[in-house]
Symmetry: C2
Subunit: 429 residues, 2 copies
């Protein structure tokens, strides 16, 4: 791609993005009051068109894949990029599943009456315009559009350069559903250029026409978005997840949960990265847990105490406590009780997901209250950190910020609220 | 105040502010789990100390007032600055009133169980550290500290230069309550310097140690904070509030509500600034409403139609539709029906507070749904835009952003949430 190093203020990409922002804002006003039936009709049309246009989408995808391979892309990144019939069907079924979810807009979140007779309602409304910036996985195009549409928001999609043709073909299918339902074209837009300046424009908020940015991709992308965005961001940079085993704890439960939390899938944000064990359990629990992990093919990096458990344990470094391995690696250490475990987690964790395994109910309550993370669990695997597992139906990501959305970001988290007040001519004294 | 134009990176104010941020963050962990009894004990101690130290506070305030008068401050700004026995008592009583409010922390906002037996709870937690930047009114020191403490947040207070001595004396009283209750000193801190760079440091977020900024003051302050802050801001810049009168509408109700909404107090953000009347009511309603306002001493700036109502009406300018007068002035115009009124308000308004007066219930519902403002009212005065009138007990301000807090920002809006998940060893398939 040939482009100059700096763009003049009136450069085409700036003008294109500004127009996309205006169209999205105008569409958001229509979507905000669109009923569930109309939104679901659009979603069903989107799913139908994804299936009907599968040949087009696969052909576009084949071009993307060929270009990526020619450019020497890694096998992992080609795997993220590639579409097949199963993945196409997954997109369509995913959109259909969103139609089954209740409409989050218009929910009365609270209502009350004041002594002067005024009746107050707090009611859920869409956020407005959501910018989604993603990388190679082209299916994000469909997933993000379905969730934002159902929650009454307009969306501006910016896919990765390497999946540009695939995402554009998917977007073309989505637009069939939008048109069939009579919704505005600005409801679901995709950035029509690979020009990287488009991302910079989105991060600046398109003159107030983007309300929130959701980055979907690797740490490089999330870090850039979090650093540069001038609008709120729903995301998490790290999922440095902990499990703390506190006496008394059932050993079999601990083994089952730790194995699942570490090795069910190592590349997900809910995978545990650090195992902490209460000192009285150093022999009884740490030793079998460490041997189990090693035997299952997980590297264990331990403190002095843990290294006594098995010769295969390597020394843990200072950095390991702060590292999200996203691999079959775990840091392990012995701590002096609950307060030390909580302090360790609040210091080294990423406020994402952390668990305590214990049969001491009071200790569990203290842990759930004092660990400052979006998700805190007692006696359950940290891999439940997922909107689907929460029962949200679907999620657009997991947020670790403290504002507005924390934890899995599902339909409800894509709404805000307003106050409706009804009276009979009341005036303020 | 003598200070160089630019500070070296290691300048004292940067180091002082960084330390304040660290102390606040450490205190916030203690406050997050402090029970209601301990927080209320601190609040009662704060109120008691405000009364006991009234002579110190009034002496400090007299110095501030003398300095302001010597510097040629306006009567209005001296009035905002000045304290007397009544205002001191108001601060103490205000703090006591906050003790009567329920603790917003720990509320279970939602709970559910999944088929696998996992029990989920969404529970309210404090936001963390709140920075409050205010101007001349020294009583904000006490008001803001009470609300942030009750909601389990640490606060960093930065008052105006002209009220520096008063705010510092009030803060010294507040600290008595903090100490009596055994809470950390970092819970309520005041910036100990008039150096303006302290504000810049707060807007940058003190290395992630401020979670939200609340500006309290004039538009210049709010605009600066909204433009420069790198952390979320709870505020509104404008309150360009509308009342729309739609046929059929009760004339007496309209007269009562419009008079109250415009003239009860003209300097508050809920005061109406634009009156729109449906064309069929141009004669029957606009004429008497305009005459009533003029007779009550309110200047009316009207469109061509409105100018026919009374010779005292002056022409409305294009800018007037976008202006928050905060004075006995109103813009008035005739519109062609509900959709035109909604379009006018969404275009010219500030998403703060808007009202419809009508006896047409369907029109009212459409207005409440489609006007994109934090507060929308039917048949009631816009001056109800206030946390106290909502029944929130108290407010730290009104927000027009879409994220997290909208409308009056009371105790509940100063909290976020986390998910507590309880299981019996569940693993994810």
């Amino acid at each position: 791609m040939n482009r100059p190093l700096a763009k003049p203020a009136g450069s085409p990409v700036i003008a294109v993005m500004a127009e996309i922002g205006r169209k999205a804002r105008a569409a958001s006003a229509v979507l905000a009051t669109a009923g569930r039936a109309q939104k679901d009709r659009a979603l069903l049309g989107m799913a139908r068109a994804i299936r009907a246009r599968a040949p087009d989408i696969l052909a576009a995808n084949a071009e993307d894949v060929a270009a990526a391979q020619a450019a020497g892309a890694s096998a992992a990144s080609v795997d993220r990029l590639i579409l097949d019939d199963r993945r196409i069907e997954g997109m369509a079924a995913g959109i259909e599943a969103v139609t089954a979810l209740p409409d989050p807009v218009g929910r009365v979140l609270a209502q009350w009456q004041r002594p002067n007779g005024l009746r107050f309602e707090r009611v859920a409304t869409p956020l407005g315009v959501i910018g989604v910036i993603y990388e190679s996985r082209p299916n994000v195009t469909a997933d993000a559009a379905a969730l934002t549409l159902k929650s009454g928001n307009a969306v501006i999609l910016r896919g990765g350069s390497d999946s540009f043709r695939s995402s554009t073909a998917i977007h073309a299918a989505l637009m069939e559903g939008i048109r069939e339902a009579g919704l505005p074209e600005g409801a679901v837009q995709i950035v029509p250029t690979r020009d990287r300046d488009a991302v910079g424009e989105m991060l600046k908020g398109l003159d107030g026409n983007i309300d929130v940015i959701v980055p979907r991709g690797g740490k490089g992308l999330v870090a850039r978005v979090q650093t540069e965005a001038r609008v709120p961001v729903f995301a998490h940079l790290d999922g440095n997840v902990h499990i703390y085993v506190h006496a008394p704890a059932d050993l079999e439960l601990a083994k089952t949960v730790v194995l699942n939390a570490k090795l069910r899938r190592t590349g997900v944000c809910g995978a545990v990265e650090t195992l902490l064990v209460d000192r009285p359990l150093a022999e009884s629990h740490m030793v079998p847990l460490v041997k189990m992990l090693l035997d299952a093919g997980c590297a264990v990096r331990g403190d002095e105490e843990v290294r006594k458990a098995d010769a295969r344990v390597t020394p843990v470094s200072k950095e390991d406590w702060d590292t999200e391995f996203l691999d079959a690696v775990i840091a392990a250490g012995v701590v002096d009780g609950l307060d030390a475990a909580i302090a360790h987690i609040n210091r080294h964790g990423s406020h994402h997901t952390d668990a305590i395994l214990t049969s001491d109910a009071a200790a569990a309550e203290k842990f759930l209250n004092e660990v400052d993370s979006a998700i805190v669990l007692h006696n359950a695997s940290t891999q439940f950190a997922d909107g689907g597992e929460f029962g949200f139906g679907a999620e657009i990501g997991i947020a670790t910020g403290r504002m507005h959305a924390r934890g899995p970001v599902g339909l409800e988290q894509l709404t805000t609220f307003k106050y409706r007040v009804r009276g009979e001519g009341q005036t303020r004294p």
